[in-house]
Symmetry: C2
Subunit: 388 residues, 2 copies
């Protein structure tokens, strides 16, 4: 019987445990399972935990929870670490390695596989996608993204109502979303926008530097028409190409966050209005209140199907989501070679979606689940109303 | 027929429009209604909008939305402004003034009433409570608070899962909640805590300065036991009595926010761990995703009952929520004189709740609604499991 090790890596999502549970449900009666804790660190430090029935049930029971049951974390997965990992897997008689993660994870799996070959160790690898940023290639989208997008779309909608209420006190608010290099999340902020007055009134994404003139014009137009303006920006957006606002280094990783302050300051100087910058925090990736049920279902299916593929001897693949051409949204899971995932590098928003947010929202909406947004359509006030 | 003016004031909440709708439903066939826009500013600047059927329906249709339909905002309501307000109300033949708001609003209504008497203008006033901070006196709690508390409790629970996942990357997170002088919201962060490991591991509220030693001990204990620690603090918490961390002045109002950074920095220095501070933003008062249905229902009832009392000639009162002694949570609405509300000043957490958060959570839980928290109980891993 094969012995599988499975782990989770990187920033967790609202549905990462659904993938884990789907996988376990699929393989628990067929394979011996070992859990790897703390992501790659667990591979290097032998944080292996036997998948006995108690542990398997624990994973299945907690599939609705945000965060990563096995812990995911970050770890410098260099050559030495990879070499050690393969030795450890071999030592524990593990012949199949499965990880739930993003770009870094797919590359890590590929490298582990190569290293295993170099060491003459037989090892199958399988990747299962996960990212809130949606910057993973070779898949229509990745589990975790839709729930994060829904959180941002709903927050923007609620925040727009909040700013409308307070416009005699503050006029411009700048929301900063996750997204180091890709604008999928920031652009999702407008997915629940129903009418012109509602924010966002300007969105800036990392795919192109901020057009200051366009931004100021958009803000000014909103200020003239509605008395307030809501700006949404990705953390990785740049004033000029190559000039990201870097705030600090945490454990050797540059933590973005702060461009919203810079933009708020800039708008304040230019237009002499009161501005407030707000970083949307870790709720973007961990909020259970805005979880998309479509996202959760897909996450589970990705795991379950991955488990089935192992029974069919797939090796070196990622489980990819392919959208079917259809009136209603349907998808199919397809195996994609890890090399092909890696070759696509970070997946940015395509020009068609950057040029037309409406096209993007048409693509995005089915992923957000049927209960979106969280309240019935906003009734606009009839326009013919005389002013006081 | 009486002519009523109604307005909303201050920071909006997730349920402030339910109170407005309840009130309108109650009075729409009995009184002539005028809407005051932009809070007190509307009284001074005559931002009166006729309550014709279209406008009444618009308010009723939008009762589920966060933010304030009539806009609330902030405005310096000084003597001159109050004098002008009474003149304007008189000019528009308005004989009843109703406002939905917090401490400031109850005081404003009282002053307007006094000024009307001085000017010899007949004017009835009625206040309807609203605050996320729950610092309004003479009521068990105020509509808006429970939804904000639920947002914070759920966010803390989700964030605790997130931090658990990432503990090999960052060990301490400091969440900062609203609450300038009262700790109701920060203390609510633990309402969904199910077991020891789950955060928050330390809560600091404005009612007493931070006990540095206790905080460091609590964090260290959590670090030793679980490898991570989650701290929750009110924005108004103080290192020493009288020393609030003031970040900036916005339109003459000092905006708090920043103590979480100071605490994060302090813990980092003391314990040499990676810390991250996060300000929970305007979602605290405007998130529709965490709205408590109990809160929304009560908000509506407060408005509806207020309208009924006007038909019974009540004058100079606030609609107060009185909790009934009962096994199940029930409440009753009682009129409280505005003087009595004002005399209570800002309502802080009572010592019994500060000393025993469990007592506080017993009081709080029924207000959060039956769908809390947003996922089934976390299954803990059995403790007898051997380590690797």
């Amino acid at each position: 019987m094969n012995k599988i090790a499975i782990g989770q890596a990187g920033g967790p999502t609202a549905v990462i445990n659904a993938t884990l549970a789907g996988f376990i449900e699929s393989v628990k009666d067929k394979f011996e399972v070992t859990f790897v804790e703390d992501g790659y660190e667990g591979l290097v430090e032998e944080k292996f935990r036997s998948g006995d029935s108690s542990m398997l049930n624990w994973v299945l029971d907690n599939q609705d929870l945000p965060g990563a049951c096995l812990r995911s974390g970050r770890y410098p997965f260099n050559e030495e670490a990879i070499e050690k990992s393969v030795q450890n897997l071999n030592k524990h008689n593990i012949d199949t390695l499965v990880f739930i993660g993003g770009n870094g994870t797919m590359e890590a799996l590929y490298k582990v596989k190569q290293e295993a070959e170099r060491q003459g160790v037989e090892l199958k690898v399988l990747g299962m996608p996960k990212t809130v940023d949606n910057d993973l290639g070779a898949t229509d989208h990745a589990p975790g993204f839709a729930s994060a997008a829904k959180y941002i779309a709903q927050t923007t909608k609620d925040m727009s109502r909040d700013l409308y209420s307070m416009k005699n006190f503050e006029q411009v608010r700048v929301l900063e979303t996750m997204g180091r290099n890709a604008g999928w999340l920031a652009a999702a902020s407008g997915a629940f926008k129903e009418y012109d007055e509602e924010g966002p009134h300007f969105i800036a994404i990392p795919e192109k530097p901020i057009d200051k003139k366009l931004m100021i014009n958009s803000v000014q137009e909103a200020l003239v028409s509605y008395g307030y303006a809501l700006i949404v920006v990705s953390e990785g957006v740049q004033w000029k190409k190559g000039e990201q606002a870097k705030l600090e280094q945490v454990n050797g990783r540059s933590i973005l966050g702060g461009i919203s302050n810079e933009i708020g300051e800039f708008v304040k100087q230019e237009l002499n209005v009161t501005t407030r910058a707000e970083l949307l925090g870790m709720n973007q990736r961990s909020s259970s209140s805005c979880k998309s049920q479509v996202d959760a279902n897909e996450a589970y299916q990705v795991g379950y199907t991955g488990g089935q593929w192992l029974q069919q001897d797939y090796d070196g693949y990622m489980v990819s989501i392919e959208r079917k051409p259809s009136v209603c949204y349907t998808m199919e899971l397809k195996p994609v070679k890890l090399e092909d995932v890696i070759a696509e590098e970070e997946r940015l928003m395509p020009p068609a979606f950057i040029e037309s947010h409406q096209a993007y929202y048409q693509w995005l909406t089915p992923l957000l689940g049927g209960d979106s947004p969280s309240y019935p359509p906003v009734k606009q006030r009839r326009v013919e109303l005389s002013e006081y």
